[in-house]
């Protein structure tokens, strides 16, 4: 089973990359584009007891994959 962890900069934190992308898109004439924020996605394969896997991945996301000072995260599990 593969779960996804989405990590993105907090809304209150400056995101220079997102701002640069936004400026480029608007420069290309995409008037519909507003704010852009750049984050990252981790695809993590897990196995074994599903409850334990969920607990583990939640902890991994909170303590390792995201830095809670500047980032927020969301763990997404496949629907079955």
């Amino acid at each position: 089973m593969t779960a996804r962890v989405y990590v993105s900069p907090k809304k209150t934190v400056l995101d220079p990359q997102g701002q640069t992308i936004r400026a480029a898109l608007q420069g290309r004439g995409y008037a519909s584009v507003g704010n852009v924020r750049q984050g990252k996605v981790f695809e993590v394969e897990v196995s074994g007891d599903p409850a334990q896997a969920r607990k583990d991945l939640e902890e991994i996301a909170r303590t390792i994959l995201a830095n809670p000072v500047i980032e927020e995260y969301r763990v997404e599990w496949p629907e079955n």
Partner: protein, 237 residues
């Protein structure tokens, strides 16, 4: 081979070496050859920092800067030893990637974000000494401007407003940029821990410690550490 022992030396520096460190030899050279103290390297999988009097967490790209700058280094055995050393009051100084590792490890508050201009910057910058009241800045005067090089892509110091207010109220800002190159909040270039025994800063004093490099302002920071250490020996005797 890498140890020096000079008759005038009074303290020993330990320079941590991670896979991807690239300022470790600069830090060793600055503290041993330029400063005239003992210096040795501490390998990243060491579970102890040994009998050193000050630990330097050097610049570079520890573990390839993977995940986030400093995020993997914080799990290394040596960083567990450094955390314990700092908790016991030991002196720890992190420069550049070393600062990023210290924030990731929780030894210093805040985080370092990508530069505001989304560009790697490598040049000398002016720094105003924000406090002379620390083991790392006691040979400087408050307000004194020094020139150290910066060389980073992720050096924008960020912390929430409450943390920034606390750092200012507790006189824990060590250096501010005189002409902010990277968008750091409140022009912060370096900060101190609550106990004032841990310093993190993006600029490189070790690269400004040899006359051949055109500037020796960095030596004042290292001389401050020696002065602090000598004073602490006097008071404990």
């Amino acid at each position: 081979m890498w140890q020096t022992c000079s008759y005038w030396s009074s303290m020993k520096f330990g320079v941590v070496v991670f896979p991807g460190s690239n300022c470790d030899h600069d830090a060793w050279y600055a503290t041993s050859r330029n400063l005239g103290q003992e210096a040795e390297f501490i390998w990243h999988d060491s579970s102890s920092v040994g009998d050193v009097d000050c630990v330097i967490v050097p610049g570079g790209f520890s573990y390839g800067d993977y995940l986030r700058c400093g995020a993997i280094a914080k799990f290394s055995p040596v960083m567990q030893a450094v955390k314990k050393y700092a908790a016991d009051g030991g002196l720890v100084a992190g420069f550049c990637n070393g600062f990023q590792i210290l924030t990731e490890s929780g030894l210093l508050p805040g985080a370092l974000l990508m530069n505001k201009g989304v560009k790697y910057i490598c040049r000398p910058v002016g720094l105003a000494t924000a406090t002379a009241n620390s083991p790392f800045t006691n040979q400087l005067k408050a307000g004194e401007v020094v020139t150290y090089p910066i060389a980073h892509g992720e050096g924008l110091y960020y912390a929430d407003g409450r943390t920034l207010d606390m750092l200012e109220a507790e006189d824990r800002i060590a250096f501010r940029y005189t002409d902010n190159p990277n968008g750091s909040l409140r022009n912060i270039a370096g900060i101190l821990s609550e106990g004032r025994n841990v310093l993190g800063m993006m600029p490189h004093p070790e690269r400004a410690s040899d006359p051949l490099m055109g500037c020796t302002d960095g030596l004042k920071l290292f001389q401050s550490i020696v002065a602090h250490h000598s004073a602490s020996l006097t008071t404990t005797k």
